[in-house]
């Protein structure tokens, strides 16, 4: 039964331990000499970044592509996930011969600050106390994530990125990168995102956070110390959020009003409908790999994101004189980050005379479309990167010639 599953504490060996000792990942630690300066006005130190790389950096160091992950993503973009044993979250987009072609580009995907897969976050051990940070962890922002990624690139000796790509929260990082470090970003691919979280977006996140905090096992964020885990709260948060990633049409096509393994309603609160069963499954599998406090921190970071606010409320100023080439992409059925948000980005970029492409892709798959099989998306990303590659002087198949 679902209820029983959700109330048992997690195995000791699952996701939280990834927080300090990530599997199948590279890791860099920044000591007290290199603190991460946070928007909250404090410094995070020491801290570490877990990341993965794919492909080969060329001699000119000009073919690096930074892939930024979304809210519940991680560094395992194009290879097996060490906790779930599932394939990478963007294997349709990143890999040999894929639009972000690892035979041409050197792909770097770091876990963001505040997450739980090896980069320092609330489930990491606080060196000052020897215990998990929990709610002692400072609140972080999208800009903090990007600042940390810039430190990673400095460490790797990469001055300029050929491209920065990402969807949703990843797209927010892409926009922040272009605004904060215009000269380090040759091209940018913000997908299914916005320059600010809307009231509706914040509202959905707040429901998720309240679900976690209402779970008695949350223990005011000290569950790691008290041997519990807010499974039910985190699962409900995921269930609610998952609905916002889909569209009404897609849900109806997939599930309709079909019953789950039964002919008739049971006149109970069992998961009679397939859609209920599907959502419960989404919730249950999510808690196996994700940390509840990280969910609080990362949703907060997205809520605080408002790029224009850092530039006197004028978005165009964020991109003034930018040399970066942009390709903005949205999806017709994405109601979480609708096309109007992408258009606002495009207007600001036009007002800054930036070199910008913008495509809206027709799909009924909702916000999640950026992660799914969308041939038109692949064609556009491939074409955009090819064009940028020519301008950057990247030769075809440079890493594949060996």
């Amino acid at each position: 039964m679902v209820e029983a599953n959700l109330s048992s504490p997690r195995e000791a060996a699952d996701a939280p331990r990834e927080a300090d000792h990530p599997h199948e990942s590279l890791m860099v630690r920044f000591g007290p000499d290199k603190p991460l300066k946070l928007d909250a006005g404090v410094e995070l130190t020491p801290f570490q970044i877990a990341y993965k790389t794919y492909g080969t950096l060329n001699a000119e160091r000009s073919n690096a592509v930074l892939v930024c992950h979304a809210l519940t993503g991680d560094q395992h973009v194009a290879s097996l996930h060490p906790v779930t044993q599932k394939s990478g979250w963007w294997e349709t987009m990143v890999g040999p011969g894929k639009p972000i072609d690892t035979e041409r580009y050197f792909v770097i995907c770091p876990n963001v600050v505040g997450a739980c897969m090896g980069t320092t976050g609330p489930s990491s051990i606080n060196p000052a106390t020897g215990k998990p940070w929990g709610l002692e962890f400072p609140v972080i922002t999208i800009r903090d994530m990007v600042r940390a990624q810039a430190m990673l690139l400095d460490h790797l000796g990469i001055e300029t990125l050929f491209s920065v790509a990402g969807g949703s929260m990843g797209g927010m990082q892409v926009l922040q990168w272009a605004a904060s470090y215009p000269n380090r970003v040759f091209s940018a691919l913000p997908i299914a995102c916005a320059t600010r979280h809307s009231a509706q977006n914040i509202a959905f996140h707040e429901v998720g956070r309240q679900a976690i905090m209402a779970d008695p096992d949350w223990r005011r964020g000290r569950y790691d110390l008290e041997g519990t885990f807010p499974r039910r709260g985190l699962a409900v948060a995921r269930m609610g959020a998952h609905i916002t990633y889909l569209s009404d049409v897609a849900l109806h096509r997939k599930f309709g009003r079909k019953f789950q393994d039964r002919e008739n309603p049971t006149f109970s609160f069992d998961a009679d409908f397939e859609v209920e069963s599907y959502l419960r499954h989404q919730g249950i599998s999510f808690v196996e790999r994700f940390d509840a406090n990280s969910y609080l921190y990362l949703t907060r970071a997205m809520d605080y994101f408002d790029l224009a606010a850092d530039y006197d409320g004028v978005l165009a100023k964020a991109f003034k004189g930018t040399p970066t080439r942009f390709c903005v992409i949205s999806f017709t059925s994405d109601w979480l980050f609708p096309t109007s948000e992408s258009r606002a980005i495009v207007h600001a970029l036009n007002a800054s005379s930036a070199r910008v492409s913008f495509a809206e892709i027709v799909t009924d798959k909702g916000h999640d479309a950026f992660l799914l099989e969308e041939p038109e998306l692949f064609g556009i990303v491939r074409g955009f990167l090819d064009g940028a590659g020519k301008a950057r002087g990247l030769t075809r198949g440079l890493a594949a010639k060996s």
Binding site: R325, H347, N350, V356, F358, A359, D386
Partner: protein, 220 residues
């Protein structure tokens, strides 16, 4: 704005050069200085932008109304956004481009005058091409056959045409005078895509030019 991306819309049968490029596009490209910054309004499938990039080394951008056209352009590596000439030109700052091009699209806009004014606000120069409604074939059809003209470059029935503001070469020159723009160059093409004699009088162009290309600049 552009209807060009849809199959054989405004420009069903425009003659091509031996190299395969549309003669009107080649003419327009030749009016643009090398290395200039260009906005192509209604860029369709990006043929002109590609030609400009390859033959003139321009930094080109495009706006296109049809989603298919935009996605095709972006997949070709062109910097194109989805938008509408009638509403979206207002968002561009002054002097953002050296040239703003409107190819075979003017007659499909709701407010041709406003569009033209925006073009010369955003760019120092404008290049405009349009089918000439004063062409003799058009006049003959209306006069003798008594129906709305249909020709190679105006292939529509009156009830399904995207072209809502037809004009003649004479009309266009009057509009240019009315909004105070300077006509730097003008070329009319006959039905075979050859330029008409440059020293021919305007009435001759207006009668025998099937389409016209104008290079405009701000006065003063």
């Amino acid at each position: 704005m552009s209807t060009r991306a849809e199959p054989n819309l405004t420009v069903a049968n425009i003659p091509r050069t031996p190299g395969g490029a549309r003669v009107d596009l080649v003419l327009m490209a030749e009016m643009v200085e090398r290395g200039a910054k260009v906005l192509d309004v209604g860029c369709g499938d990006g043929e002109l932008l590609r030609l400009l990039g390859e033959s003139r080394g321009v930094d080109g951008r495009g706006i296109e109304l049809s989603r298919e056209g935009v996605n095709e352009c972006v997949a070709k590596g062109l910097a194109v956004i989805q938008g509408d000439a009638d509403t979206d030109l207002a968002d561009y700052p002054d002097d953002a481009f050296d040239y703003v091009i409107l190819s075979q699209t003017l007659q499909a806009t709701r407010h041709p005058r406003v569009v033209l004014e925006h073009m010369l606000r955003i760019g120092r120069r404008a290049v405009v091409s349009f089918p000439n409604f004063g062409h003799w074939q058009v006049r003959m059809q209306l006069l003798f056959a008594g129906h709305m003209p249909q020709t190679d470059i105006l292939p529509y029935s009156w009830y399904d045409t995207p072209n809502i503001h037809h004009c003649t070469i004479k009309d266009f020159r009057q509009l240019c005078t009315a909004i105070g723009v300077k006509m730097e160059k003008a070329v009319a093409l006959n039905a075979w895509g050859s330029p008409l004699r440059l020293n021919a009088p305007w009435w001759f162009w207006n009668l025998f030019g099937e389409q016209a290309v104008f290079l405009l600049s701000r006065k003063g």
